[in-house]
Symmetry: C2
Subunit: 144 residues, 2 copies
């Protein structure tokens, strides 16, 4: 459960209207704990009897990803999941038990990336790093 503000700010900053459907989607995302699937939002909207079309949800989500306020994760299973996050380059640690994530900066990673570029001769443009494991909370309460 995070804050909606960053999401709304992202829309605003990029000159997109904060319409009532978008506000609703932002709220659904903010109300989520851990990562979620697009389908979860659709289900949430339906549960809350919000009059938002499926397509609108997908479009708002896509927009937020484009704006960097939401990031797509690829779980070890191959499924796609999303998490709202700060719009800066960073990576996530994903709890394999509860799905919550923490952002980590890539300070220490930079050296590794540079080294790979040097060794392979690739002109690296981007990279994605995702770490999976059990978060402190799940470890201490013995959650699956």
């Amino acid at each position: 459960m995070s804050n909606v503000m960053p999401l709304l700010a992202a829309f605003e900053r990029a000159g997109h209207r904060i319409t009532s459907p978008r506000l609703a989607v932002a709220n659904l995302i903010a109300a989520r704990d851990g990562h979620f699937a697009a389908a979860d939002l659709v289900a949430d909207a339906r549960r809350d009897r919000l009059a938002i079309g499926r397509a609108t949800i997908f479009r708002a989500l896509e927009l937020l990803i484009e704006l960097g306020a939401v990031e797509r994760l690829d779980l070890p299973t191959g499924e796609h999941a999303y998490v709202s996050c700060e719009p800066a380059h960073h990576h996530h640690v994903v709890c394999s038990s509860c799905g919550r994530t923490s952002e980590i900066d890539d300070a220490g990673l930079r050296a590794f990336v540079d080294e790979v570029a040097r060794r392979t001769g690739y002109a690296l443009e981007s990279h994605r790093l995702e770490l999976f494991g059990r978060c402190p909370a799940c470890r201490s309460n013995g959650a699956a």
Copy 2:
């Protein structure tokens, strides 16, 4: 275009039969350059008029992933792609132009991962790192 042997060896090692459909799939994979989508294999099979069902291709691919002989990549676009690779823990550098990949070991990454574990308190179980950029060949021949 790589070698089929590692793929067949993976089936064998795990006690799975190397049937003619599986051999055909392994050959299709080995004949590929760079990453491929499951749909590519289906198309290749059809092109070569191989009598292999779609489901069989998906099942063989899934099995190879399970055995670690093929890895699933998640391209920056969110699409899934596959590459055959050595069955050991490692990561890939993916050419954003031609799709070929190179494997890299995670020696230098380990320290970073440990540091993240220490700082976040997560009991890290796995991680995925994918690097994207233009490979030496594409850089020198000016390919898109």
